[in-house]
């Protein structure tokens, strides 16, 4: 008899499964090698070529240049203000600001550009493989496989992927918190001129907002929790946060989840629906839609029975015997069906996420499918 913490599968079965999985892994690796050797036919017509490999990203350069244009505009208060606008540089005009964008192109467009390269003028935009973006696709594919490898068993590759995700997420959130909260809302409130000059040129502020000292003080108190001697000071900001959210949620939950939901219960049990005639709205003069009416009436009845029976199940002041017990049993059925529906939705969500990852592997990485005509 198996106990908690011991494997459910006996060692002999696991050894056999391990051998089979290694065979499957070897077959997959062989297919990948074959995929790289055989190559893919990209492009069409005369421009069709065979590309050996997969997971490549092609780009085309697009040079952007802008020149400044100063103009005078009337502000909201009627005064004239100088405004500098940027417009695209005309052909032959020297831009004051310029840069190069690399836009993704399909493998077919790349193949056509390779064919036409000999006759193309020197100024023709360059179409080439983007190695940084190609590395990005390969990194994403290998990370996907690394995470999925956990299904095999816990392993160092999975641990690496997990650590990368945690590290990148932490770094991302720190940057977001700094530039979306600390800089504009704290520094921008307390030292707006300095913040605008050194950190955020687009900051618009009416002046120093001394209310910014309140979150600063609460934040400093929260940091006190790092020290055992003064950690008690951290209780105050936590109390502020908990109290604020409790008050905020109390009102909104009563309004939206209690009162509004109770109001929707007060609906007629017998619903009469009329057929919708082509080119006209449903009116009382139209014939009765019997199927729709019976369906809507049954739906209203099911909701009423469901609410009362589930309430009976959670009503513990009376023993669940007789009529109350019967209603409670109906309530259990309602709850089980609800949980089943939730489980079904969860399965749907998880399969959708798996399908999205597999679609990425088969499309962007392996070039086995091409729904959007990229390859």
């Amino acid at each position: 008899m198996s106990q908690l913490g011991t494997p459910m599968v006996d060692p002999a079965v696991e050894r056999r499964a391990n051998r089979m999985m290694m065979v499957i892994l070897a077959v997959v690796c062989a297919l990948l090698a074959l995929r790289a050797v055989v190559g893919s036919s990209v492009g069409s017509g005369d421009a069709a070529v065979t590309e050996h490999g997969f997971g490549l990203v092609y780009v085309q350069e697009a040079k952007k240049g802008f020149v400044a244009e100063d103009a005078k505009e009337k502000a909201a208060d009627g005064t004239e203000v100088e405004v500098r606008r940027w417009k695209p540089a005309a052909p032959g005009q020297t831009p004051e600001i310029s840069w190069t964008e690399w836009n993704e192109v399909t493998a077919g467009e790349w193949a056509a550009a390779q064919r036409a390269r000999a006759d193309a003028p020197a100024s023709a935009p360059l179409v080439t493989v983007s190695w940084p973006r190609t590395a990005g696709v390969w990194f994403a594919a290998l990370m996907t496989l690394a995470v999925l490898s956990f299904l095999w068993r816990d392993n160092p590759v999975y641990k690496l992927a997990e650590s990368v995700v945690v590290g990148v997420s932490a770094g991302y959130w720190m940057i977001v918190a700094t530039w979306d909260t600390l800089v504009p809302k704290l520094a921008g409130a307390l030292v707006p001129a300095w913040t605008k000059a050194h950190l955020m040129p687009s900051l618009e502020s009416a002046g120093v907002d001394w209310w910014g000292l309140v979150p600063l003080g609460l934040g400093m108190l929260l940091l006190c929790r790092l020290s055992a001697r003064v950690s008690w000071l951290g209780i105050f900001p936590l109390a502020f946060v908990v109290g604020t959210f409790a008050g905020l949620r109390f009102v909104q939950n009563i309004e939206s989840d209690l009162l509004a939901q109770v109001a929707t219960m007060f609906e007629p049990l017998v619903v009469v629906k009329h057929q919708v005639l082509a080119g006209a709205d449903a009116t009382a003069t139209a014939p009765i839609d019997w199927a729709g009416s019976i369906g809507a009436s049954l739906s209203a009845l099911l909701i009423l029975v469901g609410v009362l029976s589930v309430l009976a199940y959670f009503f513990f002041s009376l023993e669940h015997k007789g009529a109350v017990g019967g209603a409670a049993r109906v309530g259990i059925w309602y709850l089980m069906i609800t949980f089943g529906a939730s489980f079904g939705f969860t399965v749907m969500g998880r399969i959708a996420l798996l399908a999205a990852r597999l679609e990425f592997l088969f499309d962007d990485w392996l070039w086995l499918i091409d729904p959007s005509g990229k390859h």
Binding site: A177, S342, I351, A352, A355, F362, L368, I369, P371
Partner: protein, 303 residues
């Protein structure tokens, strides 16, 4: 050769290594993806009332209506929600609505730019600041929702590029949430559709002008959202199935019969074949599991 020769088939199934089940699920999902990818065929979809309600809510608005779209999701849930976001923006573009995009999820900010560029990037009739605007991310969860309800420019003083709202033409006349004609939330969790109902829509119920609200939600969140339909929400796209139904409605409006639908507008429909086979396998496994359980119980009782 089995190490337990007298063991019954059901007993062997009971001891099956879980990795065989993972492999079966991988094949059940991967096979249809390749089939759909190679043939380009998808299943026909019929819209359920909740999805039809979402479609009608956007469809019945007059041209040029102000639509606030909140991208409350991140790349981790894009597999389910990106088709909804694409579908909503595509539908708004077809109806020539003005699109105000925002997010309460920090990783959602790049998704706004990518979706807008993907759907309306090459449409010359859509000019940034006049027909669509990317308001970006704002920290504060429910605090932002409460704030936009009373003072929108205070919650979003700039767009995602740092341009003050006062300099964006389409922001003229937007002072609070109820100035929009409809609110759309593509929601992966907290904060998202549920909080928008609580802090954004419900207060307008008591103000006499209910703000029409439509949501797209993940499968996990959908059961929590359904009680709000149809009073507090005009419609809901539940999980990838809802997205596929909505895509089919929008595509039917956007393309003439026989015309090819671009692949980017069929993302959810492509994922319905893997759903069918994945769910069939899951149902089969549940049935087999129950057969094994009851057979084992009967055998135990007999012994």
């Amino acid at each position: 050769m089995s190490d337990r020769p007298n063991e019954s088939f059901l007993a062997r199934l009971d001891r099956i290594d879980r990795r065989w089940i993972f492999l079966m699920m991988a094949i059940a999902v991967a096979g249809p993806i390749i089939w759909v990818g190679v043939t380009g065929r998808t299943f026909p979809e019929t819209a359920t009332p909740a999805v039809q309600g979402a479609f009608d809510a956007i469809e019945r608005l007059p041209e040029g209506s102000k639509v606030l779209v909140s991208f409350d999701f991140d790349p981790a849930s894009a597999g389910e929600l990106q088709p909804m976001a694409t579908g909503f923006i595509h539908h708004c573009q077809l109806r020539k609505h003005r699109i105000y995009a925002m997010t309460l999820w920090a990783p959602g900010s790049p998704l706004i730019g990518a979706t807008l560029a993907d759907v309306i990037g090459n449409d010359p009739s859509y000019r940034y600041g006049e027909n669509f605007v990317d308001l970006g991310f704002q920290a504060g969860n429910e605090g932002v929702m409460k704030q936009v309800g009373v003072d929108f420019p205070k919650a979003f003083p700039n767009d995602s590029k740092g341009t003050p709202l006062a300099r964006i033409p389409m922001m003229q006349g937007i002072t609070r949430l109820s100035d929009f004609d409809i609110l759309i939330s593509v929601s992966a969790g907290y904060p998202g559709g549920k909080e928008w109902v609580q802090y954004g829509v419900s207060p307008t119920l008591t103000q006499g002008h209910r703000l029409p609200f439509v949501a797209g939600s993940t499968g996990v969140q959908t059961p929590q959202m359904i009680p709000y339909y149809p009073v507090q929400m005009s419609g809901i796209l539940g999980a990838i199935k809802g997205a596929a139904e909505y895509e089919s409605l929008v595509n039917a409006k956007a393309t003439a019969p026989g015309e090819t639908v671009p692949a980017k507008y069929q993302e959810a429909q492509r994922r319905m074949a893997p759903q069918l086979f994945g769910h069939s396998l899951m149902v089969g496994l549940i049935l087999v599991g129950n057969v094994i359980f009851f057979a084992g119980r009967r055998k135990g009782a007999a012994e």
